[in-house]
């Protein structure tokens, strides 16, 4: 029984990672490695909290968070798409910028409580029928509406990427923008749209932390989770379904130390706090050994497209 509670808590802890990972998958599918996930999550978290605290309206809070994340992504988009700046450097800059942005604007909100109206709106709701399935119901279908929305997004993004014309075009831009351009696909438009979508999802991931996961706004709410999301994309092999599994796995690692402390184990608790990062290292090692091409990154990932170079 306790294990079921643990898994339910892992789903909750992994949800912020899931949003961000889905976002980064979309961005990488269109050929843009955006290392600014941490920054966009921070922007979403702080703007979402401020909006929620000011208006007391959950819709407004979530909407503002998505806009903030997308705004961060569009800075990155403008620099890398229109100005052809280096993607890695621009992404890192966005991360640093986002952390500073959150620290600056969130300073006066540290210690403030999430308003009651928002807490009740996002409180766990047991779904009819699904929630009554033994074990599975308790783990997946007794959660916040914010978590349910992430399930929906996994399916929606899968359909978008693999079952629609726009998704096909998006992937084509990421694999070979030269061919995409030649066949009349507006490459830059696709890039801008998908990068903004990535930012919005990262913003939602950050706001999940500041609106649902916690009750009191802390100094640094994202604290490195954005970097784990970047690694998760590789772990998930750019597949939304596998992103779900990976996010919950890392969510479980995130909270494991609190649950294991009640058992007298012969290892230090500090090891458990380091687990998510250790696991990230192993994931990167194992994925780099994979050979199959459809599990690899998009061919033009990280490379800017110069139309004039064709």
């Amino acid at each position: 029984m306790e294990f079921i509670f643990f898994l339910a808590a892992a789903v909750k802890a992994g949800t912020c990672l899931l949003y961000a990972t889905l976002g980064e998958i979309i961005s990488e599918k269109v050929g843009h490695l955006n290392l600014g996930v941490e920054g966009m999550m921070q922007m979403g978290a702080v703007v979402g909290f401020i909006a929620g605290f000011t208006f007391g309206n959950p819709y407004a809070a979530v909407f503002c968070a998505a806009i903030a994340g997308a705004a961060g992504a569009l800075i990155y988009g403008f620099l890398t798409i229109s100005l052809k700046a280096n993607q890695v450097v621009t992404g890192l800059t966005l991360s640093i910028f986002g952390v500073g942005f959150a620290a600056f604007f969130g300073k006066n909100f540290v210690g403030k409580k999430v308003p009651e109206a928002i807490t009740t709106f996002f409180a766990p709701i047991k779904l009819p029928v699904l929630g009554d399935i033994p074990y599975v119901g308790q783990i997946f279908f007794n959660q916040s509406i914010y978590v349910y929305f992430s399930y929906f997004l996994v399916i929606a993004i899968y359909i978008y990427l693999y079952k629609t014309k726009w998704g096909l075009n998006t992937r084509m831009v990421g694999e070979n923008p030269v061919a995409a351009d030649a066949s009349g696909i507006p490459v830059d438009k696709y890039k801008y749209f998908n990068i903004a979508l990535c930012g919005a999802l990262c913003g939602l991931g950050g706001a999940f932390l500041s609106l649902v996961y916690i009750s009191i706004y802390p100094v640094n709410v994202v604290s490195g989770r954005g970097w784990i999301a970047v690694a998760l994309v590789i772990f998930a092999m750019w597949n939304p379904g596998k992103a779900l599994l990976g996010a919950y796995f890392f969510g479980a690692l995130d909270i494991a130390s609190f649950w294991l402390q009640q058992y007298t184990l012969p290892v230090s608790i500090y090891l458990f706090t380091a687990l998510p990062y250790l696991a990230t290292v192993f994931v990167l090692i194992f994925t780099s050994m994979r050979k199959s091409s459809n599990k690899k990154e998009p061919a033009w990932l990280g490379k800017n497209y110069f139309k004039e170079d064709r």
Partner: protein, 364 residues
């Protein structure tokens, strides 16, 4: 010719600037107002530790009338370089005494105390002293023992959650005192400890509290400065013992009582001694008798029988009849650490690194 004129101008400017710098420095020393610096680890309105200090600061300012001015720096990280630069900034602004209110400020304060021998430093909860640096702290374990009595009488599952900050003697002493208080009224109950390694991170603390509650604990206690643990208890419909500050009005759904700090009296006396020129480096360690620590009034959520038992124990501690850490005390393995009839020395208390036998959790 023009070049030479430029050099001359530059030299003139340099002289003017340096003279101006000197003169402004000397006037600030003549100021009648004593400037007092406070360094907090969290926000001044964190609802906990830093706010307890800030309330003490406000009380001191009120007591001193217009004789003091305070400079407050919040959210200072527990890193040497950050502490030293904060202190340099405060000294530049004219502070003659600086209070550092978190354990992790110790190294930075020691370094700054060497750098500024004319400035007085007081470090809360540390153990390093020098000619111009003293320490101050309170025996929070006394009211913690009393809050343990309340928790022990409240629990029905006989599992009490204790969300703990850092595995350092101060926190361990608090956990043991709490556990002994629990044991005095409910020998069957255990105190289940989870470390967060944070003083103020509501994200981590709430997750830790949620884990303990779902593992069967029905009362929470805490050592962090945020109310995140109580928030977790509220969501799960459990009851809580707070810390630092009364949460009777902010968390009325769960709050039973809390061990509290009242630094107002100490800060007033200490700043007065600086003004009088009688300040000396010392290691202050006050208890309930001194008023620096106390137990909050029990709320209606606390069990009815608790008040009488708390009152008896409080009177016994204040009169010296009851020593919390007197034998026989066993550690988690069952080994006798303090034999019957003996008391722990201050030195042993200040370096405590073991749990009493009704604590569940690891120190590694």
């Amino acid at each position: 010719m023009k070049k030479r004129l430029g050099v001359l101008m530059l030299a003139l400017i340099l002289v003017v600037v340096s003279v101006a710098g000197c003169s402004s420095g000397s006037t600030s020393k003549k100021d009648e107002v004593t400037k007092v610096g406070f360094i907090y680890v969290g926000p001044a309105d964190d609802g906990g530790w830093s706010q307890a200090h800030d309330n003490g600061r406000a009380k001191m300012v009120e007591n001193m009338g217009g004789k003091v001015e305070t400079i407050v720096k919040e959210n200072v990280p527990e890193e040497k370089s950050a502490v030293v630069s904060t202190i340099r900034d405060m000294v530049d602004q004219g502070c003659t005494i600086i209070y550092g209110t978190s354990y992790g400020f110790m190294d930075g304060m020691v370094e700054a105390a060497e750098e500024f021998p004319d400035v007085k430093f007081e470090h809360c909860s540390g153990y390093m002293t020098s000619d111009n640096m003293g320490t101050y702290f309170g025996k929070i374990e006394e009211p913690r023992y009393l809050s343990g009595i309340v928790a022990g009488l409240t629990t029905k599952t006989n599992k009490i959650a204790y969300v703990a900050a850092m595995p350092i003697p101060e926190v361990i002493r608090g956990i043991n005192a709490f556990a002994l208080g629990v044991k005095s009224v409910n020998p069957a109950a255990t105190v289940n400890v989870s470390w967060t390694n944070t003083w103020y991170d509501p994200t981590v603390e709430k997750a830790a509290a949620e884990a303990l509650i779902q593992q069967g604990c029905d009362v929470t206690a805490q050592h962090q400065d945020s109310t995140a643990t109580m928030e977790a208890a509220k969501e799960a419909g459990k009851l809580s013992i707070g810390y630092d500050l009364s949460a009777a009005t902010t968390m009325p759904e769960v709050y039973m009582t809390a061990p509290l700090w009242d630094f107002g009296g100490y800060y007033t006396d200490s700043v007065q001694s600086v003004i009088d020129g009688t300040w000396k480096s010392q290691q202050y360690w006050g208890g309930m008798n001194d008023g620096i620590v106390l137990l909050d009034d029990l709320t209606a959520l606390a069990p009815g029988s608790a008040q009488a038992q708390v009152d008896t124990a409080e009177a016994a501690i204040k009169s010296g009849q009851l020593n919390i850490f007197s034998g026989e005390l066993k550690d988690q393995t069952g080994a006798v650490i303090v034999s019957a009839g003996t008391k722990m020395t201050d030195e042993a208390l200040l370096s405590m690194d073991w749990f009493v036998d009704n604590v569940v959790g690891s120190l590694k």
